[in-house]
Amino acid sequence: MRGGIFAVLAFAAVILDSALAPRIEILGARPDLLVLVVVYGGLALGTRAATVAGFLVGLVADSELPAYLGLNALALSVTGFWTAGIWDRLVRGNVLVQAGVLFAASLSHDLIYYAIYYRNHMDLLPHFIGRYALLGGVYTAALGAVVYAVARLGRWEAVTDGLRA
């Protein structure tokens, strides 16, 4: 059941990431909806599901930019893997913890993605990280807090308390 809901949400995230994210841009920074869905996937379904979901969602997202097919898949599967693994060591049902993980996940995704993307122009990477990735991470974390609040109201324990709920 959770797997099905998660698949639908992942699919929706891929669609919204290209359609909605550019419209809710703030100071050039966008929330990373793919990271959001992968992190919550890890929380609700575990490490393997998050890793595979990261790979698949990333691959679909990459199909929009064929020259870098596999890059998002790589970055998101790594992000899904480590964030899902870290939940065991954290207090899951805390909005600040979830926001912190989302921030770190967004940053890690951007670091992996853009380190490969800018591999021949590494001097551009710090500027990009400083200008967009940090702000994007904050934005994603803030959106995560909203998701947490909504989940709280809807009593979706898979999001508020994670796998053990």
Partner: protein, 297 residues
Amino acid sequence: MVPFLTRVLRGNRELSTLVVCLTFSFAALLLPSGLKNGISEVISGAVLGPFKRLAAATSDLTGVRSENAALRRLAAGLMDERATLLGYRHENERLRELLDFLVTFSEEEALVMTPAGVIGMPGGRTVEGIEIDKGALDGIDPGMPVVVPSGLVGKVSRVFGHRALVEPLTSASSAVSVTIERSRVRGIVKPRFGGPAQLVSWGMDYVPARSDVRVGDLAITSGLGGVYPRGLVVGAVAAVAEGPLTMSVSIDPAVRLSTLEQVFVVTGTQAGPGIRTEEQLRLLREVEELRAQEGGD
């Protein structure tokens, strides 16, 4: 090395999943670009295609909606502009008519005229008075004739500072000495009332029986009496009825008082043909002065 890695991966299913995903990811990254494009097209077409088409349709709909709103705004603006332009056209036609009047009118004596705007029409069912925006301070005096290109309007009855009241030909006390332009038959045009303030028609009195007057003949001012200058159109003969001693002649007035917007007050006469405005006279005076100065030098 390989057996060690195999043992580690067998013992850790999460890690092995990641390794598989990473392997596929790197493999995808290293594919030739043609193959990448092909795979991307398949994924994009199968997974995102229907939603892209839906999004495009929605976007088109949104575009049509906003375009519709923009066109509505444009149409409202154009309607407003059209109304303004129609106003200008109407004004232009009126001014052109007035200009033609000034250019083509010819008499032995030139009429000196001051243009004035109509600002009111006191009266009930008939126009008993016309209020204009020029008065004593503009050189207007009682008794001065008021004309428009189509003919005679009436005469100034009262003057104020910058206002004056014009008594039109339709007023009860009005009487104009006219001549039938074609046959030079003379008579007096007066309004005929069926009751208080109920103008029935306009009639030409004191026309001897069997005079040469026909329907359609123009009645123009005769100049007799000294109130109105000669040659201004008063109206056209609408009907003729023979009587034992005099003829009953009905006149259709040349001027529609209810539609007047601008009139000319005849403030005086000047030797020579044509009609002149105060502005023209001022220019003529300046030219005369310049000529005098040149002659003096």
